[in-house]
Symmetry: C2
Subunit: 271 residues, 2 copies
Amino acid sequence: MGESCGGNLLIIGGNEDKQGECIILRKFIAMAGGRESRIAVVTTATEFPREVGDEYRSLFTEFGAESSNILFIANREAANDRHNISEIEQSSGIFFTGGDQLRLTSILGGSGVDAAIRRSFRQGTVIAGTSAGASVMSDTMIVDGSSSDTPTKSMLSMAHGMGLLEEVVIDQHFAQRGRINRLLAAVAQNPHILGVGIDEDTALSVSPEGMVEIVGSQTVTIVDGKSIIQTNISESKPFDPLALTNVILHILPSGFGYDLKRRVPHTSKTK
Amino acid sequence: MGESCGGNLLIIGGNEDKQGECIILRKFIAMAGGRESRIAVVTTATEFPREVGDEYRSLFTEFGAESSNILFIANREAANDRHNISEIEQSSGIFFTGGDQLRLTSILGGSGVDAAIRRSFRQGTVIAGTSAGASVMSDTMIVDGSSSDTPTKSMLSMAHGMGLLEEVVIDQHFAQRGRINRLLAAVAQNPHILGVGIDEDTALSVSPEGMVEIVGSQTVTIVDGKSIIQTNISESKPFDPLALTNVILHILPSGFGYDLKRRVPHTSKTK
């Protein structure tokens, strides 16, 4: 973890509950100010911005947000539009929908809206993202990689993310899509980076001090490679299977937390 | 690891190469005595004993075995047949095909052939098994359990295996079927037990002293739960997600080994 750099994050593994208790989405509204929250839904990642945006806007209104607006930013022109920048500046919570993480970064990256998001985040605006919207939060993100295969050096495709959370790599739909091996491959490339795999309907809230709490019905898998003793990643060929010894793994459900700075899990409350 | 208890094991994660270099199957013949090896192929696990048995018999003959016979043991009567018991007693290598591990144990368990296998093993006969034939080697075996789901207490169905390798639980087709979570759930139930997940076309050879060498094209995942600090498995309900902190994980390809007694991985040779 680098320096404390702003507000709170809510990083969601995708497919969060929208019919039942909606624990995760309600948590977002509570974090963003409850009845005083002003929400901006950013639909850039998805190819179905109208449907996806409308659903979140309705839910956030139902959960008591003071306002909830969809920002249809589908190209770089819109990403530099004064109106969109102003909406970001006035929001207390920004929500990134799922879709394609490369759409998010390629359309928003370096734009006026991007700069406004970073500014707002430093000033305390809560940033939430689900699925692709979760992946983009790290400085280097996974954009592709086969699941449920033996880990190899070439199984991963990485790109620059938005860098709101440093020194981690995030993967989503984690248990549901069998992504442990691509996360291990990412951590093997640089064990300084902490691997965070988030299951569906599960989220981690991250405080500016790097304290994580798990929310939702499934689990978060933490892959800590700092203790790795042996790896063959530098000398192996692209399709050689990886070797990795002494990785530390934590499986954390709701009720557990994790200290990103000290790399220590804990029970956050009695269940 | 309990006491040294016999010969060598070759435990194969399923779908081993039968067309190319056949490294794993050739390794079996070499372990069993090469040109002097007398092989018994036990097809009990499979519903297609003729096809499966014929394929292995041909391959073992091609690889230089002195003799290679199929034991078609499909019921308990055959499992107590004098001829079959005698075939086991005369073999230097026994090979269990894939199929259903409960067929293997429910048909063989407690029979004359079962007793002969254990006797032969203690006297140095090499035992190999692939897929279901790999799972049965441990004293408690996984017979069912959903893959690629968040780990829960109820995701696993376990049964008594043949107990040729103690204090481990083996899973096969491991990366290919995304089985890490069911192995973690098994280890969480008793961290004294070491979790061993074997990928397809990959095997571990185990010496009587508990020294493991990895063979084949993919990897073996070792889940060591001895260092687990927190788990919720005793107090959680059957469908609650598991909590597990501080699991140690090793991913080992060919060229690596593992000491089952000391629980330490190592490089077995320079690659």
